[in-house]
Subunit: 208 residues, 2 copies
């Protein structure tokens, strides 16, 4: 029996570095799959349909929600975002690990569903540093930055939703931690599938 | 507030390679502490008092059990073995991680005490390989090997006592897994102590 893939849920306050870390993780683990969300927001420059998001119309999105095709979905700043159930299930059934980059609402939904996976929260080393990073992007107004910082605080207050905390001081170090978490989680006893049939039988017979 | 050290409980059926792996782990993590057990069995050649074991008399051992100085102790093959509470607590209080190499009885005792730590079980890749390794040692009779194999099966039937399963096919790979487990476990949200006071306050205020 093939081992099912591991769902790895990654979330972070805006500016903590989730996108950078996930890109670096992808480079280190080229076989790792990343879930591609559906969204009704228009593509930004450089964003590719089917790679960054599945860009769909609001009508199509609503049809998908009607058919219960999303594991989780939410409306954020007027746009809809959702994680389609099918792609995830297909990938995991093939025994492939899958990263789901979710916002706090998505994480809350999955936890309420008791969705099994590894929940990783990326945190900034300090609030000053978070503000510096948001300002450094140069894409948001002062007011938007203030809003993102407040939203970040609310997200961090829900840290206990997660299994692991990765303080992103340094990208290489943080990616090293994420690799260690994935490596370790795959060795959890609850996921242990011995190759040796005799050992498998012994363990399955166990009651401890 | 300094983070308390992590207790790492390592156990294995005889012949799975626990001693080799722990020695290799020590080399990779020179700052990692290893608990030194007390025993009433006489030292073997090359064994050093205070390094391999604290070699003590049966009288002394019994006095220590009377004073409840052991976290766990057991009689095995007519000799007594115990883990002194004090050394462990002192090391962990200093924020240092500590490896406890225990037999199955010790692990069962700690689990019954709901002792918090990371429980790692080292398994052989197959029963054939386990027998080969026990035979290869050249230190046990055929009958002793048979006994150890049977004991090993009983221990493996209690695999569910552990958090992690490390199949020891290759020493380097197994040590890599143990390093990843230790690295990851230190990033558990339940052990997260942010350096930034503001972030600490936000997280502590959280209810999620």
């Amino acid at each position: 029996m093939a081992q099912k893939g591991l769902p790895i849920i990654i979330s972070a306050p805006s500016g903590a570095g989730k996108t950078t870390l996930c890109q670096a993780l992808k480079k280190r683990l080229p076989d790792l799959n990343f879930s591609v969300s559906h969204t009704t927001r228009p593509p930004r420059e450089n964003e590719q349909d089917g790679v960054d998001y599945h860009f769909i119309t609001k009508k199509k999105f609503m049809e998908m929600t009607d058919r219960d095709e999303f594991l989780e979905w939410a409306q954020i700043h007027g746009n809809y975002y959702g994680t389609a159930r099918k792609n995830i299930t297909d990938t995991l059934q093939k025994g492939k690990d899958l990263v789901l980059e979710l916002d706090i609402q998505g994480v809350e939904t999955l936890r309420n569903l008791k969705y099994r996976g590894v929940y990783i929260f990326i945190l900034p080393p300090s609030m000053e540093e978070l503000e510096k990073r948001l300002t450094g992007r140069g894409t948001e107004s002062d007011n938007q930055i203030k809003q993102r910082l407040e939203a970040g605080k609310k997200e961090m207050a829900k840290s206990r939703l997660y299994d692991y905390a990765v303080t992103n001081t340094n990208v290489d170090e943080s990616v090293g931690t994420m690799l260690a978490i994935i490596h370790a989680e795959k060795k959890r006893m609850s996921r242990y599938q011995p190759d040796c049939p005799e050992i498998r039988k012994i363990i399955e017979s166990g009651t401890a």
